[in-house]
């Protein structure tokens, strides 16, 4: 039972991560492999604030959102000058830099060991640090984030984002403030990822850099692509599928040492396969083959 709860918590966290990345990559067309950096920044910010100040949970999450948003604004700067594969390189560089800072700045972030013993999570007087409580909280956040994204995507702002994805020059010629929109969407997406990081920090009880590597970023963008970029439900499906599938390996008796590698081979292979045969993913509306969408 505990095991199922943990899987569900992870699925919830990855839903938040993938849906927020989908806003940046799927709807605005800016592929980013920096998302694990925002995830990590949120987790570390929460850990630092919670450990030093013993502040309540909501304050921590809010701070994580703000700090993550700032990092998002930083990453949006390259996106104003580069597109497509060069942007991927820039976000890749950013991701590795953030990871190196988390891993090497011992005095501030605890280095490779990380920060242990985050205070237990209490919300409105309820102790939510048990897995059931945490799952309920994660589920609430999922619903909130999903609804927010739904509202954003179906709003005029969302339409501008899709316009940027389809034809950025035309959007700019039509008078849309592409710069402001790009920065905004990065702030929102990064902030949400940081909130997921917050939840993750409370779930594990400590933070360390190993959960926020480049591979993690690639995993999240794989979820978005495989699930379906540019659709609302695609990333949710992708998150469920890519978190559950490797767990099946455990059931067919693969030892743990092999399971980690097999998990990576699975999503690496799926990424390649989908890029060859179905780049818009399962439910996606955006194929990266041509500027513009596949099905619309």
């Amino acid at each position: 039972m505990e095991y199922i709860l943990q899987i569900l918590i992870l699925i919830g966290i990855y839903i938040i991560l993938s849906v927020s990345l989908n806003l940046i990559a799927g709807y605005t067309g800016m592929i980013s492999i920096a998302h694990a950096a925002f995830y990590g920044v949120g987790a570390y910010a929460t850990a630092l604030i919670a450990i030093q100040l013993h502040s309540p949970f909501l304050v921590n999450v809010l701070c994580a959102f703000i700090i993550g948003g700032l990092f998002g604004a930083l990453v949006s700067l390259p996106s104003l000058r580069m597109r497509d594969d060069y942007l991927v390189i820039a976000t890749f560089a950013f991701q590795v830099i953030v990871f190196n800072i988390l891993n090497n700045w011992d005095a501030f972030t605890g280095g490779p060991v990380g920060l242990p013993s985050i205070p237990k999570l209490t919300l409105l007087g309820f102790n939510l640090s048990s897995h059931i409580g945490l799952l309920g909280l994660v589920a609430c956040f999922c619903v909130i984030v999903f609804t927010l994204i739904h509202r954003i995507v179906n709003s005029p702002f969302g339409r501008v984002l899709k316009a940027i994805r389809e034809d950025e020059v035309l959007a700019r010629a039509d008078g849309k403030n592409v710069v402001a929109n790009k920065v905004t969407v990065f702030i929102i997406g990064a902030g949400m990822a940081s909130m997921a990081g917050s939840l993750y920090a409370y779930y594990i009880g400590s933070v360390d850099p190993t959960g926020f590597t480049v591979m993690e970023s690639i995993f999240i963008i794989s979820i978005v692509i495989i699930g379906g970029a540019g659709s609302e439900r695609g990333p949710v499906l992708g998150a469920i599928a890519l978190v559950l599938l490797p767990e099946l390996f455990r059931f067919i008796g693969l030892p743990n040492s092999i399971a980690a590698n097999m998990r990576q081979i699975l999503y690496g292979g799926l990424l390649v396969a989908f890029m060859i045969w179905r780049p818009s993913g399962f439910l996606g509306k955006f194929s990266f083959y041509t500027k513009g969408s596949a099905n619309e």
Partner: protein, 291 residues
């Protein structure tokens, strides 16, 4: 001080080798072939497998490792990238696919050989050599020599031979080359073969000097990519200069702040150039716009 210069020399040589192999593929195929990192690793591990598992002679193992790496790169082009290109895949899609390939190959190596650090052991134990007050290992001298030799031979191969001409033509304009009668498929295949061969060289040198792990490829590839972008598209002289600059910056930063910050410095340099001078030191802006 002399040791610092020696380190810079060796570092620049390694960066140049990786960067040159990568740039052959990058300028011809026009996408970031991230799986190059996996080829670097594969070259080292194939040599290792021949040496330790099959107990083949030392030089033969190295040779098989090199050819194996080159063949692997060629197979990726022939089997995967070419089909994707025919289906009009954009550079972005190819990049993502090559990321996936890197993950798969790295994990297969991890499964087959384990995650611990291994070395390619030579039959002789070679001590450090002291030149002008700085210490080199035998392998480091070898690396610098190979790098210089590669650079010099580039002038001959790329500028004088027909296949070199084909490579340069395709990197300038694939469509026009095709119309002019250059066999695109063969040229691409050769580009990948040559680039991956150099990747194998880098991997084996690294394994010989420091050791190898399944994840060794990416930290080796990143400075190479930085050097390619900083150096400027298509200019090998620029790549050489950029390798030296990058090695200098890295070693100085490492000496001042600690070796663990070297990668960060390299990537900050990359970001600065991507943002403010994407054509690099010696490149032309118009070449990027054609992609």
């Amino acid at each position: 001080m002399e040791q610092l210069v020696a380190n810079i020399l060796y570092s620049a040589a390694m960066i140049f080798l990786v960067g040159f192999g990568f740039s052959i593929i990058f300028s011809t195929a026009r996408f970031f072939h991230f799986a190059h990192a996996a080829i670097i690793t594969a070259g080292a591990y194939i040599a290792f497998a021949c040496l330790e598992r099959l107990s083949l002679p030392f030089l033969l193992s190295i040779l098989i490792g090199l050819v194996g790496a080159a063949a692997l790169g060629w197979c990726l082009e022939r089997g995967l990238y070419r089909n994707m290109r025919h289906n009009s895949a954009t550079p972005l899609v190819l990049l993502l696919a090559s990321l996936g390939i890197y993950i798969v190959i790295q994990n297969v190596i991890s499964l087959a050989f384990g995650d611990d650090t291994k070395v390619i052991a030579s039959p002789n134990i070679s001590p450090s050599v002291c030149i002008l007050g700085a210490y080199f290992t035998y392998v480091q001298i070898l690396a610098v020599t190979i790098a210089v030799a590669t650079f010099l031979s580039k002038v001959y191969v790329l500028d004088k031979t027909r296949i070199g001409l084909a490579l340069r033509a395709v990197s300038c304009s694939p469509e026009l080359s095709n119309i002019s009668g250059i066999d695109l498929g063969k040229t691409m295949g050769f580009a990948f073969f040559l680039g991956s061969f150099l990747a194998g060289v880098s991997g084996i040198l690294q394994a010989y000097d420091v050791g190898m792990m399944p994840t060794m490829g990416l930290p080796m590839l990143l400075p190479g990519v930085v050097a390619v972008i900083v150096g400027g598209n298509g200019k090998t002289a620029g790549l050489l200069i950029a390798s030296v600059i990058l090695a200098t910056v890295q070693e100085l930063a490492g000496w001042r702040f600690g070796a663990r910050w070297e990668e960060t410095i390299a990537l900050l340099l990359l970001l600065a150039f991507l943002m403010y001078r994407p054509q690099g030191i010696m490149g032309k802006l118009s070449k990027i716009a054609t992609s």
